[in-house]
Amino acid sequence: MTALAPARPAATGALPRMPAAAWVLPPLLVVLGCVGWPLVTVLGESVRDRAGAFSMASWSAVLGSAEFHNALWRTAQIAVGSTVGALLLGSFLAVVLAFVPFPGAGLAARLIDTVLALPSFLVTLAFTFLYGSAGVLQALVHAVAGPGAQLPPILTSPLGVILAEITFFTPFVVRPLLASFAMLPREQLEVAASLGAGPLRVLRTVVGPEALPGLAAGGSLVLLLTLNEFGIVLFTGAKDVITLPVLIYTRGVVSLDLPGAAVVATAQVVLSLLLYGVYRFGFARLRGDGRAERPTDPTEGAGHVAVVAHQ
């Protein structure tokens, strides 16, 4: 056995190198054909005029249009606002779940995880009943301030979309944070406290550095997902909340201007891929940091983050 073991892997290790590489080809070709090729055709469509000849007309028309500028600005505004909100809310929830033990903490963590498995438009649907013009909040305002008091139309405003996205994407921050907190020895917190550090100081000096990689990974993931978010904005149905994905949809499907849609799509892909690069880079650092993000069970539940963050 001892004589066999080193001999075998050496023999098989030298031979299958070529076949191993060849086995990669079929799935690689399929994926390139179904993912890479369509993205290339989007770029191709964007530099073509109605007759099919090469033309940059769509690019100059779209990039110069106020519609595109507004959508770009609106997308960035919503994405940044939602990310900041999700980071703040997610950090608070994760810190309480990890460091302020209470009965039912496990159940609360489960509940937060459940949101990850829901379709995003569910949040907008719920918001119609909660914050719509005939919703729960409006009824409460009537009850408190009299029937004349009208709420501003939160639902169809950019703020409403930001609130909906914070609601939906906060679990994407909680998940990686809880994973990093699980690696933090509890004794460190207790020693710091026994030496006289208040809770805020413990958070800043002991928990903070440990949470930073998780925050970076969770934050850039949420920024990417909110830039790309479609369902929440579409269901809002607001005329003045047009983000880039919604613009791609209305141009491509509603007004059948494929070259115009392709230009917006190319711009969005560039933006998203840049951010995705930042996210992968941030996560590589996270993994380098003492493998803090080692999954216990990366497929547990239907957590997108569990999988996205553990690539």
């Binding site: 399929v30 993205l39 608070f92 829901l118 729960v136 790309n228 149905g237 994905p245 969005q268």
Partner: protein, 265 residues
């Protein structure tokens, strides 16, 4: 262990409870309540009714549900097959090739699903592959979108696989095919089932790419829900969402049975 005084704990936990109630419980609870509420004009819904759920399971709703389930299953199977093939092959491929394969598989989650849909719409509406206007373009879109998740689930499973089994099998003279079929795949079965579950769950709720490519003959449930919500029928839309969630949960439950049976072996 962070807060030592009784009052500060109570205050923080109260804030936590309110936030979880607003952010997590309220959205899900609202949709569940709206699905069975006859009216909802005040602070609380009123008039318990099964009419919305009944309508959601009517001929049109049922047809849509069936389309969603078939799409999820077909796309799930396709993505698990291609995804685990890619993960297995990438694991033993040289470094740069492995990164290329995993990178390409993860591309669809980096770009918006609407763009994936637009790309498929343009690329497969011309020869040699004319899929536009058929159900296959929807299934392809779903398979592409969930591929990243199946690949990473199977890759994570492979990472945790004890190499000793494989080495033992090889040292006893088993060939590559035998090692794959008799050792690695059976050990990977829980990961494959988990990947399938994730694929089905994501596919059932997919909207962005579907709405770009779907033909009228193959309308998934999320698209139907959007149509309902868009014309202001929020109660029926909620009821259909509840049906969608319930059927997704059923499918996941069935897959988790497979998974736990696989884990027992």
């Amino acid at each position: 262990m962070l807060l030592w005084s009784r009052t500060s704990r109570a205050v923080v936990l109260a804030v936590f409870a309110v936030l979880v109630a607003v952010v997590v419980v309220a959205p899900l609870g609202t949709v569940l309540l709206a699905a069975v509420a006859g009216r909802w004009t005040g602070a609380l819904p009123g008039g318990l009714t099964g009419a919305h759920l009944g309508a959601a399971l009517g001929p049109a709703g049922l047809a849509s549900l069936l389309v969603s389930v078939q799409t999820a299953l077909l796309a799930g199977i396709a993505s698990v097959v291609i995804g685990s093939w890619a993960a297995l092959a990438a694991a033993s491929a040289p470094g740069p090739l492995r990164r290329l394969v995993l990178g390409v598989c993860h591309l669809p989650i980096a770009v918006p699903s609407v763009v994936v849909g637009l790309g498929l719409l343009i690329a497969f509406n011309r020869p040699p592959l004319l899929l536009g206007g058929t159900k296959w373009i929807v299934i392809l879109a779903h398979a592409v979108l969930v591929l990243a998740f199946t690949v990473s689930t199977v890759t994570a499973g492979l990472d945790r696989l004890d190499p000793a089994y494989e080495l033992a099998a090889r040292s006893l003279g088993a060939g590559e095919a035998r090692v794959l079929l008799r050792v690695r795949l059976p050990l990977l079965l829980p990961s494959l089932a988990a990947a399938a579950g994730l694929a089905v769950a994501l596919s059932m709720g997919e909207l962005g790419a579907t709405i770009m490519v779907y033909p009228p003959s193959w309308r998934t449930l999320p698209v139907t829900i959007f149509t309902l919500s868009d014309r202001g029928d929020a109660f029926l839309a909620s009821a259909s969402t509840v049906v969608l969630l319930a059927v997704t949960a059923l499918l996941l439950f069935a897959l988790s049975r497979v998974r736990s049976r696989a884990a027992l072996r």
